[in-house]
């Protein structure tokens, strides 16, 4: 009896990953056949280099955003402001490094505190004042880049501080630091949601908010928290983005990344209507998007038309996830077979 139930649970855990993983596998198969050097890895100065490592490295920003976004979407909301919060975080860090001589941990601390404050703002609007998430976070999405501009006085601030450049460009045990950062955050988020009751509360609020409130779940607080957490994740992603290019560019840092993050979550199997969420699925989704981007780049698809094949590939994965399409498709195959 007990083992039977265990198997059932295992099957469910895997089944949520089947479609995003097979999408990614298809794409990698395509690259294996048609893109030269895609799977080449080499070791230089003790660090791993190669296209796959690049994908992990460059995908880490969307992965970080997708972690926060997964929890937000699981409550039935959405956070459009994460790209703007990235810009704010980069601006704060660059400004502090260049104009004050506070120590590095203080810079990181203040930057993340500002990102958390941005999350609190969203959380208050959605959790306490019950403003629709899309509207509430749109406010900061629009205003956020202005705030970042104010912090940087409208300039692009460059920096050379070694610790700050390490975040986006350094290596740890052979792998780029952002890979460790997003992996670590995945672990922390998974522990936070699955080793405490937070995951249950988030899913219950997303599934039926009224029923959850009547059962004693503090829905407003749960909602507040997920936006704060999303802000925090955006802060980390903002640090990585600024560090990557060694400057704070308020106009372009994290531009449109909120859309990639939402896509990653959806590709990962979490429904936009809320309820069950899949963190690992969202990570696979983020990698899928990054692999697509890299593939386009390596195949010399011009940047102007690259979004078209990208959109097509994402469409295929989303269709694969639709039970309706799947039954139609398998019915078609059966008819062919017989």
């Amino acid at each position: 009896m007990a083992t039977e139930r265990f198997e059932k649970k295992q099957a469910r855990w895997w089944s949520s990953l089947v479609w995003p993983v097979s999408g990614l596998a298809l794409l990698l198969l395509f690259d294996l056949c048609f893109t030269d050097g895609f799977f080449k890895l080499e070791v230089r100065d003790g660090h791993l280099y190669g296209v796959l490592i690049d994908i992990l490295n460059h995908g880490s920003k969307v992965m970080l955003l997708a972690l926060g976004m997964t929890l937000v979407i699981a409550t039935g909301g959405v956070d459009l402001s994460v790209g703007a919060v990235m810009a704010i975080a980069g601006a704060v860090a660059a400004r502090l490094i260049n104009t004050t001589n506070v120590s590095f941990p203080v810079v990181i601390g203040v930057t993340l505190a500002v990102a958390i404050a941005a999350g609190c703002w969203n959380g208050l609007l959605v959790g306490a004042f019950r403003i629709q998430p899309i509207v509430a976070t749109l406010i900061l999405m629009v205003a956020g880049r202005g705030v970042a501009m104010l912090i940087t006085d409208g300039q692009i601030i460059t920096f050379t501080e070694p610790w700050l450049t390490y975040i986006g460009n350094g290596h740890l045990l052979g792998l780029p630091f952002p890979v460790w950062l997003s992996g670590g955050m995945l672990l922390i988020t998974a522990l936070l949601t699955r080793r405490t009751a937070l995951g249950l509360f988030i899913e219950s609020v997303g599934d039926n908010q009224t029923a959850s409130t009547y059962a004693g779940v503090n829905s407003s607080t749960v909602k507040f928290f997920v936006y704060v957490f999303s802000g925090f994740c955006a802060g980390l992603a903002g640090l990585v983005a600024a560090s990557n290019i060694k400057c704070a560019d308020s106009n372009h840092a994290g531009l449109f990344l909120e859309l990639d993050a939402i896509l990653a979550v959806v590709v990962g199997g979490t429904l936009l209507t809320g309820g069950r969420f899949y963190l690992v699925g969202a990570m696979v989704g983020a990698l899928f998007i990054q692999t697509l981007t890299t593939t386009m780049y390596m195949r010399n698809v011009s940047a102007d038309i690259a979004p078209v094949p990208k959109a097509l590939a994402i469409l295929v994965v989303c269709l694969l996830q639709s039970p309706k399409v799947r039954t139609k498709f398998s019915g078609l195959l059966k008819r062919r077979g017989s």
Binding site: K8, A197, L200, F201, E203, S204, Y214, N218, G275
Partner: protein
């Protein structure tokens, strides 16, 4: 041509399965012209599934369906409507913020070069409403009508779609007696005009009052088709439950009155409790080990009282005492911390988490009270789920099944389990037996008596007076959102309650 000439709908060997559940296993169902046909069965018997397959909500796995001798295969409710099968579902499915006229004509609005002809639409809606003997302003929004009127509007809409075959799933569960009578008059008129009517209901009286034939299902299988006039009630009930039923003990309250009589102080006491638009001047007390009933017609303020006590709505007048101490709740969380529990009337909207598992639904309230940090271990969660699945007889393939896939009665049991794991001191049950079958009703009543004997205070809300009279040792009677009186012990009878509800002017 072997089929009877008058068979309007003929379903043979219908099969439908869900993951882990065989909902229908080779069911036959035949409806003739000019016939009112009752579809009966316990929870999970397959009534809802049969209706949903018939109306194109679910595809079928096997079997044939013929309408007027022609094989049909509806793949959506819209297709079923086009074929001549119109349906009113158990939960009134109108769009609350649209007008009555828009709801009636939705999807079939009269248009003129793509523009909606509003006058024509209003005329059509009025015509449809006349068929159910209802006269009201069709431009008002559906949300502003009472549930009973909404039900009639839904039926008017169904009639406007088609008169060939009308399917009514629990049409009377929110109607009072007079409205039921009016509805039945409409149904008889339609029957006279040749319409075949399928009715699903749990009220035996109504089945005998209106139906010509009865088809009984049990556990997804056909038990048989009977002529109503030739089927004694007791026989029908035993067909439905599949065993000789023992009537719930009539004098449960008398038997154990002695042990629970140590009522030093009420657990909950409210005085002059009220809120604008809710209830006025409610006085009520419940002691440990006491089962108090709230009786009254639909809209008399029963649910509103429960919402005030549980902290969902905030009282504006009066005071509440718990264990003799003055308290007030600003949220359900505070009420839960005081040991209160509440199963809402509308379990789909306010009760269950449909896509989450039985296990998660059961542990939610306990986990919410314990807070984030003290996570109930997975092992313990499964133990709790297994224990209550067994104790309350929840029929589910397992604790990981999504609650939305269970039948109504089992969803209600899951809700009950959610609160029982918190070991509440006061349990408020708002219509726990609404829309569930005889067997599950008896089980829930039995569970209530057991809990009361263990010393739990229970506030029981039900629109079925018979149930209230049987279960409660004290009954508070409401009318027009105010308390009109109270009955206790042997003084409780359906007749007296009805008198209190009916009398005017001189209340308490």
């Amino acid at each position: 041509m072997e089929t009877e000439p008058k068979a309007l709908l003929e379903i043979r060997g219908l099969v439908k399965g869900f993951p882990g559940v065989k909902a229908l296993q080779g069911v036959d169902f035949i409806v003739r012209r000019s016939e009112i046909h009752a579809l009966m069965g316990e929870n999970g018997a397959g009534k809802s599934t049969l209706i949903k397959v018939l109306t194109g909500v679910y595809p079928r796995d096997g079997g044939t369906m013929r309408l007027e001798g022609v094989e049909i295969n509806p793949r959506s409710p819209k297709m079923a409507e086009a074929l001549g099968i119109s349906t009113v579902y158990q939960e009134v499915n109108l769009i609350p913020h649209l007008s009555v006229a828009e709801n009636i004509c939705l999807g079939r609005q009269p248009t003129f070069f793509g523009m909606i002809r509003w006058r024509e639409m209003a005329r059509r809606a009025e015509r449809a409403l006349r068929r159910v003997d209802l006269k009201l302003d069709v431009s008002q929004s559906v949300a502003s009508c009472s549930i009973a009127v909404q039900q009639l509007v839904a039926i008017a809409r169904a009639l406007d779609v088609s008169e060939k075959l009308l399917v009514l799933d629990e049409p009377t569960s929110s109607l009072d007696e007079k409205e039921v009578g009016e509805l039945f008059a409409v149904l008889r008129k339609l029957r006279g005009q040749g319409t075949g009517i399928v009715i699903v209901t749990h009220f035996l009286d109504q089945v005998y009052a209106i139906s010509d034939r009865i088809t009984v299902l049990r556990d997804g299988k056909l038990v048989g088709e009977f002529e109503t006039a030739r089927l004694p009630r007791l026989k029908l009930v035993s067909h439905m439950v599949g065993r000789e039923i023992t009537q719930p003990e009539g004098s449960a309250r008398g038997a154990e009155a002695g042990e629970a009589d140590v009522k030093a102080e009420p657990l909950l006491e409210i005085k002059n409790f009220g809120r604008a638009g809710s209830v006025t001047a409610m006085d009520l007390s419940v002691a440990r080990g006491e089962l108090v009933g709230l009786a009254g017609l639909l809209g008399s303020g029963r649910t509103e009282t429960a919402r005030l006590i549980f902290g969902i709505d905030k009282a504006q007048t009066g005071e509440m005492r718990v264990d003799g101490r003055r308290t007030s709740f600003h949220s359900p969380r505070q009420a839960i911390r005081a040991g209160f529990a509440f199963t809402p009337e509308n379990r789909k909207v306010e009760g269950i988490l449909p896509r989450m598992s039985v296990r998660e639904n059961i542990v939610l309230a306990l986990q919410a009270r314990q807070g984030l940090g003290q996570m109930i271990s997975r092992k313990r969660q499964l133990e709790l789920a297994d224990e209550f699945i067994r104790r309350l007889g929840i029929s589910t393939p397992g604790p990981e099944q999504a609650v939305g896939n269970l039948s109504g009665g089992n969803q209600q049991k899951v809700l009950l389990a959610r609160w029982l794991v918190t070991q509440p001191r006061l349990l408020i049950l708002d219509e726990p037996t609404r829309g569930i079958d005889v067997g599950a009703k008896a089980e829930i009543e039995k569970t209530m008596q057991e809990l009361r004997a263990q010393g739990m205070a229970i506030l029981f809300i039900s629109s079925e007076l018979e149930e209230v009279v049987r279960a409660c040792e004290r009954v508070v009677v409401l009318r027009d959102r105010a308390k009109v009186g109270e009955l206790a012990g042997d003084g409780i009878s359906e007749e007296k309650i009805m008198h209190m509800i009916a009398e005017h002017g001189h209340g308490h």
